[in-house]
Amino acid sequence: MGEKQTFTHSVIQSFKIKQVDLLRFITAGSVDDGKSTLIGRLLYDTKNILADQMEAIERASKSRNVGEIDLALLTDGLRSEREQGITIDVAYKYFQTPSRKFISIDAPGHIQYTRNMVTGASNADLAIILVDARHGVVEQTRRHSLIASMLGIPHVIVAINKMDLVGNSEDAFLEIAKSYQELAAKLSIKDLTIIPVSALNGDNIVDRSANMPWYTGETLLSVLETVNVLKDQNTEDGRFSVQYVIRPQTEELHDYRGYAGRVQSGTFKKGDLIKVLPSEQESKIAKIEFGGNEIEEASVLESVTILLEDDIDISRGDIIVSLNNSPIVSQDIEALVCWMDDKKTLKPGNKYVLQHGTARSRCSIRDIEYQIDINSYEKLDEVESLKLNDVARIVLRTAQPVAYDPYQKNRSNGAAILIDETSNVTVGACMIE
């Protein structure tokens, strides 16, 4: 340990040969649709449950007389959840198969936890929306689908669950699938797959079901393993929010100024002409480093350090963009907002802190253009204020200019949060339009 630390990029390159990537997915649906059971089933059938965890849930199942072991107990973690038998907060579970690592996000279904679902959905590559085959498309299905679409989750799987309770009937499945497609037509869901499953019995989850020979499509796991998440990234527009300025100020690194950040979209390489926003200063990339070593180029989601040829004034909150590909720079912003404060309402005239990338700016709400009824998708005009879990299109004005892209084009540079200035709590999720 005593010798100097070295981290060479070649070591990292050699690890890329294996090509196991990550997929984050969220499960949504009404309470009791079987979300927790489904995750438990995925973990169980892919052999990701360890012996002692299994024993613990067997013990708990027995003490509550639920008969068979209850796979839902694997994810319902907090004491209050076990007491009430519901999922309150977002729970993360990890499992892997030979081709992928999965981060599953189990979000609560109750309407009062819509904000938790939005939290879980914001980082997801894929959403599994559960529908109880006995009830078909219900209010929650509509709401969760809207959230998935609004948050730009690229892939949606609708799992029509509890097929065992409707006699594994193809007609029942087709009817629900049809009504879901009618609903989806009103939304922007890029990639939709509908699968009949039984989480309880494990039908069409990991293994194909003998109970539904009429279903010839993919199993749920096979979709999870094969969706192309690379394609979802914005590789066009070079965006890099500066998080921190590295200035070692030692003798040998006297003039070193490195801009630390993560590539939000596009790619950057040595020699690229860039612009810094909102100041509009231009320069050229002198060098890109990772862990102190020079690398050729940096692409989406890589955390690197950029050095510029010119000595210009850049600090946290600034964004470096490709010279000929500029985002919109403005103080007037229109956005869809999901309101998350259970104490205070959002009203025109209210002031907040808007956090976009690494920049924070005070802002004031100018107008609520309309609210969206998250169940019927109708636009409601003349809304005076927003309360917890309301979704609306708002207009706001910021104290400093913001350099953004529309959310549906660039998830990373089109997202922002509203922070309450006095409580410091995150109160709104904004998707800039």
Partner: protein, 317 residues
């Protein structure tokens, strides 16, 4: 019958040529991003360093995040006085090698200063008392953010915790009132006296940590590898034979070849029998192991089903 409305567009040539990043690169990039958010958002952050493999991983990530500069925050160790000597040596060497400031505070001192009562008897542990020392240390240095190595796969309560986990002025975690954590927009705004615990490797599993340590060729304290040692065999668990563990007539002293999967407090960290002498062998053993890390080696969590949830509410790591 399959219904699928797939977007009709071919993968562009550029995308086809671009390889998907390996999951370890993705996890690393996320953790580095979180580290830099801490440095960017807080005035007095600290990295809680236990000498365990998770915090060793954190130190490497912090080095990478700020290279060629030094890590812009101190390493803080809350020493129960019940640590493995190997872990303590390692800690001191690592702090020296990274040029980081090392702050050590002792549970022993808190016990004396506050007149706290230690647990007694054979299963006595200072694990719970660490919380007091930690909170005092946070107050002493006015730390506004403490980076920790907790992972969500370790335990059920942790599976629900945010990456930026807000703590009130008493250090308490309120699972029902967590701040929404959207995209990668972390909100570290707090009032004076409050602080945020930050977990950059939240989304890593135990195996990911091992794979990363191997990839980065990071040396570890020797107790992580198989060695022969005198142990106390108690209720099927193997504990290090040390004066800080009170023994009784039911305890058996045995000599076995073992390694430790975590290197916490000796009183609540059990060894596993193993012949794994290298990282590769350790990884191979863990891959086939059917028992989770906490279940195997953490004695404190087995006492009640909600043990961790309760400790976190009280201000634990």
């Amino acid at each position: 019958m399959s219904i699928s409305v797939k977007e009709v567009s071919d993968i562009s040539e550029a995308d086809a040529r671009r390889k998907s990043p390996d999951y370890l690169d993705q996890l690393e990039a996320e953790a580095i991003y979180v580290m830099r958010e801490v440095a960017g958002q807080f005035e007095r952050p600290a990295l809680l360093f236990s000498g365990g493999k998770d915090s060793i991983t954190l130190v490497r990530l912090a080095q990478k995040a700020f290279a060629p500069g030094k890590i812009p925050f101190p390493l803080v160790h809350v020493d129960t006085g019940h640590n493995f000597i190997e872990a303590i040596h390692y800690r001191d060497e690592l702090a020296a090698a990274t040029g980081s400031k090392l702050i050590v505070r002792y549970v022993e001192d808190t016990i004396k200063a506050k007149g706290l009562k230690e647990q007694t008897g054979k299963n006595a542990s200072r694990n719970w008392l660490q919380t007091f020392t930690l909170l005092d240390t946070i107050e002493e240095f006015e730390f506004d953010a403490c980076i920790g190595g907790a992972r969500r796969d370790e335990e059920k309560a942790r599976a629900k915790e945010r990456i930026f986990s807000f703590r009130d002025e008493f250090g308490q975690w309120d699972p029902k009132r967590q701040r929404p954590e959207l995209w990668n927009l972390f909100n570290g705004r707090i009032h004076k006296g409050e602080n945020v615990r930050v977990f950059p490797i939240s989304n890593w599993t135990e195996l990911d940590v091992w794979a990363y340590l191997k990839r980065e060729k990071i040396a570890l304290p020797s107790i992580y590898f198989a060695h022969e040692r005198e142990l106390i065999l108690r209720d099927g668990h193997l504990l290090a034979n040390t004066p800080v563990i009170e023994k009784d007539e039911n305890d058996q002293i045995v000599t076995r070849q073992v390694r430790f999967r975590t290197v916490g407090d000796m009183t609540c960290t059990a060894a596993v029998e193993s012949s794994a002498a290298t990282l590769d062998e350790v990884i191979a053993e863990i891959t086939v192991s059917r028992i989770s890390e906490r279940g195997e080696t953490r004695i404190d969590d087995q006492q009640t089903e909600a043990a961790m949830e309760d400790r976190k509410k009280g201000g634990y790591f």
